[in-house]
């Protein structure tokens, strides 16, 4: 047990697993209550029929699909960013990767709930899966919803693997420090990790393969979510720009979520020494890039529609630009561009606080963007007699709030069971020279095994 005393990194990062404050239990209880309210709201909706939500004819998709796209977008924070940073070997990534990857897994799980919640008959959702059945039909592979089903399942599987692989050495480290039931649980999860050279090499190549494989999967997932809209000839949905536009927006909102999560971890788990302002600075620059990209996409989309001057599209265009939806539209522009742009451009403002403020604005703006993509188009289809309007109902709002609570709760719980910062990667990364002088034999072993 000599090594534990000489191991400040591991001590700091493992501490949250063994020490839990009363605040944690209190906030977890509050969040769990909100999540239970969401579950009750869903049960209520299933019992009485989906008419308790605000959707109507002809706006068949409302808050639920908005939240679906929003959460799938958030999920692009983690795995994609982490994979890119790994592949380009950005050294500053090391404390960031795991807290990013966790966002992906939980945001995907939450996002994937919404297509189920929004179904008229959710108990039949398994009909999307291709399996031999007495009905003797397969899912309709022409339907973008079926593509969604496969894309999201693939992404979820890949993200879970991508999260779990680099966790193995850390789980083994906790196993070696723990006693009792914890030792058993972490020992099982560590899959017999001994830290041999062979195991390190296998881990490294496994991570390399996953990092490469997950990037096209991540891009395809949000492209396919965009296809849910752009495959229909609905005005302003039917656009070739939607695939890349959605992917850019997803990464945009994902980075914002990551910055907020990191700032919270930094404050609550006292990780100031690990999540340094330079991480926020770098992610802030990335957020700025995505903000500019987002503005470019919006400009390209809007200009093309306006110049084309096609009547049914112009109805939607003016509804968002100057009509019923204009307040939401301009709030979106302010949140996604006007607020983050100066904050992230000026070095003086690109602090931890500045990045968090910009990120909150971006999350609000990107949520509005999803809403404004879905609802105005459905309310202004070509036959003017059938124009409609939508206002969300209580059950939809409760379910939406519950998913935010669920995200925070899951994230909190995860940080209590697994070090939220990858200990071994940090150790390897922090040492520019072989640590021959150090008494930390664990680190020396790590160094030797470094590929």
């Amino acid at each position: 047990m000599n090594r534990t005393r000489n191991n400040p990194i591991a001590d700091d990062l493992v501490r949250p697993l063994f020490h839990t404050s009363v605040w944690f239990y209190g906030s977890a209880a509050v969040l769990a209550t909100i999540v239970l309210c969401g579950a009750a709201a869903w049960a209520y909706q299933i019992w009485y029929g989906i008419g308790v939500a605000g959707i109507n004819w002809p706006i068949f998709w409302g808050f639920y699909l908005t939240n679906f796209v929003f959460w799938i977008g958030i999920s692009h924070a983690g795995t994609l960013i982490s994979a890119i940073l790994r592949l380009v070997n950005a050294r500053w990534r090391r404390p960031v990767t795991r807290c990013a990857e966790v966002i992906t897994v939980f945001a995907l799980m939450i996002g994937a709930m919404f297509p189920l919640i929004h179904l008229g008959r959710p108990w039949l959702a398994f009909w999307l899966a291709p399996y031999p059945s007495a009905r003797e039909i397969w899912p309709n592979f022409r339907s973008p919803l079926v593509w969604d089903f496969f894309a999201i399942n693939t992404y979820l599987t890949g993200s879970v693997l991508f999260l779990l692989l680099p966790m193995i050495p850390d789980l083994a480290l906790i196993r070696d420090r723990a006693t009792g039931w914890r030792r058993f649980v972490y020992g099982t999860l560590a899959l017999g990790w001994q830290g041999t050279t062979k195991q390190w090499h296998r881990l490294e190549s496994g991570m390399q393969i996953m990092a490469i494989a997950i990037i096209p999967v991540a891009v395809s997932v949000h492209t396919i979510v965009a296809f849910d809209f752009s495959m229909a000839t609905v005005p302003m949905w039917h656009s070739t720009i939607f695939g890349p536009y959605f992917v850019a927006g997803a990464i945009f909102s994902g980075i914002a979520a990551l910055i907020i999560a990191m700032a919270a971890l930094r404050r609550l788990l006292h990780l100031e020494a690990y999540l340094h302002p330079v991480h926020f600075e770098n992610l802030g620059k990335l957020l700025l890039l995505m903000s500019l990209l987002w503005a470019y996409f919006v400009f390209a989309e809007r200009l093309t529609v306006w110049y084309g001057n096609e009547p049914s599209e112009m109805a939607v265009f003016w509804a968002t630009q100057a009509g019923d939806y204009a307040p939401l539209y301009w709030t979106m522009v302010v949140c996604n561009f006007v607020i983050p742009f100066p904050i992230l451009t000026l070095r003086r403002l690109r602090t931890v606080t500045g990045c968090v403020v910009a990120s909150f604005a971006v999350l609000i703006g990107m949520w509005l963007e999803r809403f404004l993509i879905i609802i105005p188009s459905l309310s202004r289809k070509p036959l003017t007699y059938s124009w409609g309007s939508y206002s969300p109902q209580l059950v939809e709002i409760v379910l939406m709030v519950a998913t935010f609570a669920a995200m925070i709760l899951l994230y909190m719980l995860f940080s209590k069971f697994v070090p939220i910062i990858s200990i071994w990667e940090l150790k390897v990364g922090n040492q520019p020279h072989p640590p021959v002088e150090t008494a930390d034999d664990e680190l020396a072993e790590l160094w030797k095994a470094r590929p």
């Binding site: 029929g49 989906i50 008959r121 009909w127 022409r142 495959m231 000839t233 609905v234 309007s389």
Partner: protein, 234 residues
């Protein structure tokens, strides 16, 4: 010989009386949802009469346009359904299999004519209205999409009868409820594959056009323009 059912809507004859809407409700067990739900956009009318006004008071002209499922040959609603609940049947109808529908409502979004309707709640009929339900038409439960079927129950019955007697269905002997109820004879139904049928001849009229034709959905309903408009308005 395969049938290809279609319809002609003569806008010159339509008076906007909505007899077709009422007849459709009675024939196809369409629930009425009440004033409050209807105001929220939950009314179900497989056929509706759209009203458009032109001009300033007192020189106002109103135009009626009955809109029902256009039974598209290249239907956007069919491709997007993940479970084949919405599919093209052998007569070229856009059939909806209620039991297969899981309620994604994607078809309703993809349909540019907005002629697909969703059961937001379990349909209910106040007593004794349940006694007037048509036994040939299944009731739809909460959470499924439904739409105009061209009264497929009548088509099936007519086909069975014709097959038993080894003959084709005679033109005009088969009508959906809306066409049957139309006092002005504005709705003409029949087999587009039979060039001698009334509907096929009227479809070829120079007055004819399709609704949102440029979308390429190949609708099987032809609208005949009102005549005399241009001259009188000039």
């Amino acid at each position: 010989m395969a049938y290809r059912w279609g319809m002609v809507v003569d806008l010159d004859r339509c008076t906007g009386c909505e007899a077709c809407v009422t007849a459709c409700h009675a024939e196809n067990n369409l629930p009425t949802v009440g004033a409050d739900e209807a105001a929220r956009g939950r009314a179900m009318h497989w056929i509706r009469v759209e009203r458009y006004w032109e001009g300033e008071f007192p020189d106002v002209r109103v135009k009626f346009r009955p809109v029902l499922c256009q039974q598209c040959g290249n239907a956007p609603c069919e491709a997007v359904c993940p479970t084949y609940a919405s599919h093209q049947n052998e007569d070229g109808l856009n059939a909806q299999v209620y039991n297969r529908c899981i309620g994604t409502r994607y078809c309703g979004n993809a349909c540019m004519y907005n002629v697909r309707f969703f059961n937001f709640f379990h349909p209910q009929w106040e007593k004794p209205l349940q006694l007037q339900l048509n036994p040939d038409v299944s009731l739809r439960e909460s959470g499924v999409m439904e739409k105009c079927t061209f009264c497929v129950q009548r088509i099936k019955a007519a086909k069975s009868a014709a097959k038993a007697e080894d003959r084709a269905i005679a033109d005009g002997s088969l009508q959906p409820a809306c066409a049957q109820a139309c006092p002005a004879g504005a709705l003409v139904f029949g087999d587009l594959n039979d060039p001698e049928s009334r509907v096929a001849r009227l479809s070829a009229s120079p007055r004819g056009s399709k609704l949102l034709e440029d979308l390429g959905a190949e609708p099987k309903i032809t609208y005949l323009h009102r005549q005399g408009w241009h001259e009188s308005n000039a």
